[in-house]
Amino acid sequence: MVFKTLLRNIKMNTNGWLFISLIGVAVILLPVFSIFVSLFAEPNENWEHIKQYMLTNYILQSVGLMLFTGILTVMIGVTLAWLIAAYDFPLKRFFHWALVLPLSIPPYIAAYTYSAMLSYTGVVQTALRSTFGFTPDQKWFDIMSFPGAVFIFTLFLYPYVYMLTRSFLERQSGSYVENAILLGRKPVSIFFRIVLPISQPAIIGSLMLVIFEVISDYGVTSYFGIQTISTAIFQTWFGMYDVDTALRLSAWMMAGVLGLFLIERMLRYNRKYSASTSKSSQLVPKRLKGFSSFAALFFCGAVFACSFLIPVIQLIVWSYWTYEDVLTVAFFELTINTLFVAAIATGMIMFLAVVVANVARLQPNRFGTVLSKLMVSGYSLPGAIIAIGVLTFFIALDERMEFVYLLFGYEDAPLLLSMSLVMLIVAYVVRFMATGYNAVEAGFEKVGMVYTHASRTLGYGITRTFFKVDLFLIKGALMGGTILTFVEIIKELPMALLLRPFNFETLSTKTYQYASDERVIEAAIPSLFIITVSVISVLLFHQLGKKMEK
């Protein structure tokens, strides 16, 4: 009887949607799986050497970057969030959204821009020399260092913390803060005793995003010459073509990511304050006067200038200097390349996201939950790991397919798949599935099940119901998810570097190439292009968010 019931449940839910979902999940799990398998191979000398002499250093550098960036982004992000949520001062409405804009500048672009600006020939030192006749010690401007990397990461990643914490404070903290004011607490004390503790969930959540970005980074650290696990994976693969060692490093890194997850879990469980009281209360901003109003304006203005305005203006100036050399046919080609690859990957992501999210919601049981958890797991994997995992898988696949290739008349078994764009697209799908999936899932959650149920009692199966009803209802979410995913892909650097076919450039790899050829100024135009696309998406999203709230 139990068996028959199980059979019934399986039959009930078996359909094309389920099969596509299983394929989707298999694709997502593929890199992790191939890394895991390869761990059983015998390690080579290279690995022994790295393990003995360098691994500790890589780990220390990676952890150090995460730690300092984490602390600083929380300090800046939460302070800004509190200022904007709780006070009124000049230009506050502008800063409300403008402080999110630095997210549209990928840290590697910021790193190139800042290091060129601060170099001996850069605008800062030139200005000092010509106006004050003063040649400062070069050490003061050495941004290509560990503190420099922390500086860049902080300036361009704090918006995660700012965004999540601000919206949390705006919606949730009213009654707590009012109580504290009634009890006669001073603003500083309110900040430390109330604001920090109650926004802990938002802070932890956004901190994880920041840390994942740092761990995944290749552009900033490699340019600044900092040895992290990510850069080590690149060197073993690019420099020594030693995939085995790269895999082992990836496994170590994955263990680290897993550890992070456990820590996050623990922090969530240990929370003393549960701010999830059903009654959300809005915070009413208080008007600042005199000096404090000026100080708030200055602080927000300074952060905004350093993290958006100054680098963007600098890039615009450089673009003006170089556009005649840079805007060639080749540049248009690579722009088309970039948009083309991003469009294909985004299309696949949204397709799989919709299918899996629909399956998961039609099966509100453990299977559905596991399905959606697995689907978003790629986001926590650093780009380098995904790249290595995808690479080993496709090389192995090419070896298996050798006889097929020979059959089709290819001479001596080429590496067809591992030389093609397929790999890069698969890697994008794995890494950015979560972006699309979360948007679609939120869309489905918002409309609920009633319309689907109504359609089914009117005689439509799940597929026709989807096309006639569900699709219309999640249109907005689908569009938002598509834009976000598309932009993330255009910004991505490490996987594009590792997996692009020979002679295939994207905007981000071209930017990287200019920078590593000491031609940072020429990188301005591709950089601006990437930033513009991201800014548009941030603004669109801001509009969309406002519309949804209504």
């Binding site: 009887m1 019934r8 449940n9 099940m449 009633v450 149920h453 109504a454 009692t457 009117l458 199966g461």
Partner: protein, 211 residues
């Protein structure tokens, strides 16, 4: 043999709670109109969902027209049960206007048949002036009437109605109720009607069940 058979049906939303439905058993003859009464939260809507196939009972058996639609080893999908439903919150498709909502379930009919049936339904619920309106442009009572027309249109063999009159004023309520009862009887349609109002039960139901 009765038309609808419900045998020892039990259902739980979460394992932590006691069952919402505990071994519910009853049957309905063809053409019968049965009222379901019970306090709020007693599981009336849940029972209708299970009959329609929008949920699976933990235990028990449901058969419609001599066909088992769900038990330990069978599950017939909602679209294949021939069951119509008027939802408590109407569930009108927001992206379709009144006509398109009512036509939605008529995909198996020819174009002329569909047109005729649509006109008939619109007349029944007296929404002639509102044919092109979208759900959000209608009052609660008007929405309810559209929901009723939409569920009736495909002539389901079994009609489930979750408080179909709750938003209508007394006058409209009794006129629609009487007409509905005439239609149901003429079409020999079997019907389960959830209501708070004993007046409804007295007016059109053959029998009643209390949860």
């Amino acid at each position: 043999m009765s038309f609808v058979n419900i045998q020892e049906v039990s259902y739980t939303y979460t394992s932590k709670q006691p069952p919402i439905l505990n071994k519910v058993t009853f049957s309905i003859d063809q053409g019968e109109i049965v009222g379901i009464l019970g306090p709020s939260g007693s599981g009336k809507s849940t029972l209708l969902r299970l009959i329609a196939g929008l949920g699976t009972p933990d235990r028990g058996m449901i058969s419609i027209a001599d066909q088992v639609v769900v038990d330990g080893q069978t599950f017939v999908a909602p679209e294949d049960r021939g069951v119509g439903m008027v939802f408590q919150d109407y569930a009108l498709f927001p992206h379709l206007n009144v006509e398109k909502n009512i036509e939605f379930g008529l995909h198996r009919m020819s174009r002329t048949e569909r047109k005729a049936r649509l006109d008939e339904m619109i007349e029944l619920v007296q929404l002639q002036e509102f044919r092109k309106r979208y759900p959000h442009e209608l009052s609660g009572g008007q929405q309810q009437r559209v929901a009723l027309a939409r569920a009736l249109a495909p002539k389901p063999s079994l009609l489930l109605m979750d408080e179909p009159f709750s938003n209508l004023d007394t006058e409209l309520r009794s006129s629609i109720r009487d007409e509905l009862s005439a239609i149901l009887r003429k079409a020999k349609m079997t019907c389960l009607l959830v209501t708070h109002d004993y007046q409804d039960v007295k007016a059109i139901c053959n029998s009643e069940i209390t949860l």
